[in-house]
């Protein structure tokens, strides 16, 4: 039989895929079954375009307790505890409805964490928007930020860090990636399994409505002018309900009455039932008429595909039902017995006792299609990688450049954003947003965890392999600056339409680069998320593989922050500056260019630097540490002064390797000040520790040089002995700290 092409298209299925369904079932699917297949085989749930590439990532290590495949990854942090973490995207919903899209993104990732038996203790987010002079972009960003705040603040999990980038390509397709970390007892990690025939399956949480039906397939379809039709899919978050679920589920988990648990996220009841069955080697049978419903007249199809938020599916040990029900009642939640575990490995859906769908789990999960999609190097690359500084004309004065960089939203302080997030609730936050990687202590131990999410998408655009390596290196370096030894990573891969060979090429190269970097830095990837089809009218976003890295501090008291701490401290530059302006913030801000070759990255050198940073911190030898990233050494120096109350007096060397043409065109100072060479960090240390620091750096094989001294009220930088920047610290700090807020508040007198 040939299926109705319109029906297939609406379900995002190809004719080949339809044939596979028929083969798997041995018959034509019912409409409900078709819906179930469509969501499980969507890009979002099946990873059909990305799976072959993701398989190559390093996912194991002595600390790894849970790698990819569960709701979140987990690494051992000692003291019998595990750090459980993951990052996830909510890009498409956040464009359609910024507040609710972002809010439900936060809700979803939190559920992934507590589902594992971990108490969520920290959130981060990585955001991308179009340029802020566009009022619609401002509206989107304001909505996203307040949505994240609205949900995270209410549920009481601090948002301790994040990053925000801006580029034209995100105007019609913002990125909203949310990272959550929880802490669990290492021997009490709970899995999303259904097993033990006859064990009851419970539904608990919000009632099911027609929310987000086809949300999972929507998340895998590019935006186009048919957007309006897809609109009724918007889900509304209920952080209060989730708080109740969180507390109640953690309480249930402390009993041993639970077999497995999974949240109903994308693809809702469908995904949770078949994935739990599949992981447990069992089947699940449910009757949808028992599912609590918010709206009348819902069909089995709608109930199975609904993406209403704040719902959980639990498998409980037979005989322990009353105990579990009682705990939920305490929290005013009603756990409903909607089905049972079976032995037949099938997902069986009934409606008032009548079977409306029956599918082998295997067909929905492991046997979902996998594509090795064609790849081709994008045409833009060769041209974009050509950069002639000399052709840009004479550069502006360094002080002017520095001011414009500090005022650019990407580099400017994100204060306007993170003051809207409760970043201190739970009284664990040792390093608040804006002061480097977020650091939270682990109560009951002497330890702390440092967290960072990073990606320089311009680097990835210009060289996906190298750019993704930079993302790993930068996130890990941020964590190391705080004193944390990187022990695990998660990633969120935001790319365009994988059916275009050049996008697939970007994707594959980025995954290769990420894998190689994680291997070299010995940071296993324990999970992640892929978001494809991030395009507007056929134009993809900058390829944006965001890395989230978790670092461990054995001694929380040794934590290190970004800002200088004491006048008279010596400023030491670790690493070496080469003339590397390709893909830099300088080119972007001064010349509106994304061009050139990204800075080289020697992973062995990077690893030595990070080890040194951790060593210096744990030896208590540093007063402050900050990595040099966007905007180079000059921006990093200024940032070390901000929030410290101090200025700085510095003298730096010219950058290595500037070509003679650029040198003649006057780019010497620019290259020294604004090159974004990798594997560098600025630390400050008391005078009497300088020799110890330099000795340890030498022993570690990391170039180190005293470049200045903390103090005064000016930011003064000399290149090769000639002062090229001499500005008031307060004036620069004013520019940097208010730049973003001025975009939003410019019209509103602060009454």
């Amino acid at each position: 039989m040939t299926p109705d092409p319109v029906l297939l298209e609406r379900h995002g299925l190809t004719t080949d895929e339809y044939q596979r369904i028929v083969d798997a079932l041995g018959r034509e699917p019912s409409l409900t079954e078709l819906g179930i297949f469509s969501v499980m085989w969507s890009e979002h749930c099946s990873y059909k375009s990305s799976r072959v590439h993701l398989r190559t990532l390093p996912t194991t290590g002595p600390r790894v307790l849970q790698g990819p495949g569960e709701n979140a990854g987990a690494v051992d942090i000692g003291d019998g505890l595990a750090a459980v973490f993951k990052i996830e995207s909510h890009n498409h919903p956040s464009f359609i409805e910024p507040y609710q899209g972002a809010a439900t993104g936060v809700g979803g990732i939190i559920r992934d964490i507590f589902t594992m038996g971990a108490r969520p203790v920290a959130l981060l987010n990585s955001l991308r928007f179009g340029p802020l002079d566009d009022p619609l972009v401002r509206r989107t960003m304001a909505g996203v930020v307040s949505g994240i705040a609205g949900y995270g603040n209410s549920i009481g999990i601090p948002t301790v860090g994040g990053e925000i980038g801006f580029d034209d390509s995100y105007t019609g397709n913002p990125l909203v990636n949310v990272f959550c970390l929880g802490v669990a007892r290492a021997d009490e990690i709970i899995k999303g399994v259904a097993s033990g025939a006859g064990n009851p399956v419970y539904y608990v949480g919000a009632k099911t409505g027609r929310d987000g039906i086809h949300g999972a397939t929507m998340a895998s379809a590019e935006f186009d002018d048919k957007l309006a039709e897809k609109r009724p899919a918007v889900q509304v978050g209920d952080p209060f309900m989730e708080k109740l679920l969180l507390e109640a589920c953690l309480e249930v988990m402390r009993t041993d009455a639970l077999v497995g648990i999974q949240d109903m996220g994308a693809a809702g009841l469908t995904c949770s039932t078949c994935e739990m069955g599949s992981r447990g080697g069992a089947g699940v049978e449910i009757d949808v008429s028992l599912v609590p419903q918010r709206e009348t007249g819902m069909t089995p199809y709608e109930i199975m595909l609904s993406e209403s938020q704040e719902r959980m599916l639990l498998v409980v040990k037979k005989g322990r039902e009353a105990e579990v029900e009682r705990i939920f009642e305490k929290w005013d939640l009603h756990a409903v017995h909607i089905g049972d575990v079976t032995t037949d490995g099938r997902l069986r859906v009934k409606n008032h006792g009548e079977v409306v769908a029956e599918i082998p789990n295997q067909a929905l999960t492991d046997d979902a299609p996998v594509y090795r999609r064609p790849m081709a190097e994008p045409e833009y690359l060769a041209g974009a990688r050509q950069l002639s500084l000399a052709a840009l004309g004479a550069p502006a004065a360094p002080a002017q450049v520095l001011k414009r960089l500090l005022a650019s939203p990407e580099i400017a302080s994100k204060r306007w954003v993170y003051t809207q997030y409760d970043h201190m609730v739970r009284t664990n936050t040792l390093v608040v947003p804006g002061m480097g990687a977020g650091v939270i202590r682990v109560k009951g131990t002497s330890k702390a965890l440092a967290l960072s999410v990073d990606c320089n998408a311009r680097f990835v655009y210009l060289d996906p392999f190298l750019g993704a390596q930079h993302a790993v290196a930068e996130a890990a370096r941020n964590v190391a600056c705080a004193g944390g030894l990187p022990i695990g990573a998660t990633n969120c891969l935001n790319f365009g339409n994988p059916q275009r060979p050049e996008i697939m090429w970007q994707f594959a190269r980025a995954v290769e680069g990420m894998g190689a970097a994680c291997q070299a830095l010995d940071i296993p990837i324990t999970g992640g998320n892929v978001s494809l089809y991030n395009e507007t009218d056929g134009r993809g976003v900058l390829p944006t593989p965001v890395l989230g890295v978790v670092g461990l501090l054995e001694d929380a008291a040794r934590v290190v922050r970004r800002a200088f701490r004491a006048a008279g401290d010596a400023v030491v530059l670790l690493g070496r500056t080469r003339a590397e302006l390709g893909g830099s913030g300088y080119l972007n801000v001064e010349h509106d260019l994304v061009r050139g070759v990204p800075p080289a990255l020697d992973l062995a050198q990077e690893r030595r630097l990070q080890a040194l940073l951790v060593e210096l911190a744990s030896a208590g030898l540093v007063s402050s540490a900050h990595d040099c990233a966007e905007g180079g050494l000059a921006v990093a120096l200024a940032e070390c002064c901000f929030d410290s109350g101090f200025g700085v007096e510095t003298g730096i060397s010219p950058a290595d390797g500037l070509d003679t043409e650029a040198s003649a065109a006057g780019f010497g100072d620019i290259a020294a000040l604004f090159s974004e060479s990798a594997s560098r960090a600025l630390i400050s240390t008391p005078e009497h520790e300088v020799q110890a620091v330099l000795a340890r750096a030498a022993a570690a094989g990391v170039p180190a040089a005293v470049v200045g001294r903390v103090g005064g009220d000016r930011i003064r930088i000399a290149v090769a002995g000639r002062i090229v920047i001499d500005e008031s610290r307060a004036a620069l700090e004013e520019i940097w700290s208010t730049a973003i807020e001025r975009f939003f508040e410019r019209r509103r007198a602060i009454a």
């Binding site: 609710q100 929310d211 009724p232 918007v234 978050g237 209060f240 309900m241 005013d332």
Partner: protein, 86 residues
């Protein structure tokens, strides 16, 4: 002239606030309140020559700012008598 704009969530959109208020009313003993939906209410003082004019301005304001068309709908009432500016 005063325009009253009522903004409500579309019927199919989940209303956690209204649901919670409804539950609270039940706890307080108001079992006969079977459903609660919560919305926003705006009073706009408009300097307009006619009720039609005021309605048009209010509708534009609602479309552009007061209501979020993705999840909300709105209704306007004009009260020509009310509304000396406060």
């Amino acid at each position: 002239m005063r325009a009253r704009v009522f903004v409500t969530l579309k019927p199919s959109v989940f209303d956690p606030q209204g649901t919670t208020v409804g539950e609270a009313l039940h706890t307080l003993g108001y079992q006969r309140v079977t459903d609660v939906r919560q919305g926003k209410y705006f009073e706009l003082e408009i300097d307009a020559p006619s009720a039609d004019d005021a309605r048009r301005i209010a509708a534009e304001a609602a479309d552009r700012l007061l209501a979020n068309p993705v999840i909300e709908s709105y209704r306007i009432e004009i009260d020509a008598a009310a509304g000396a500016p406060r």
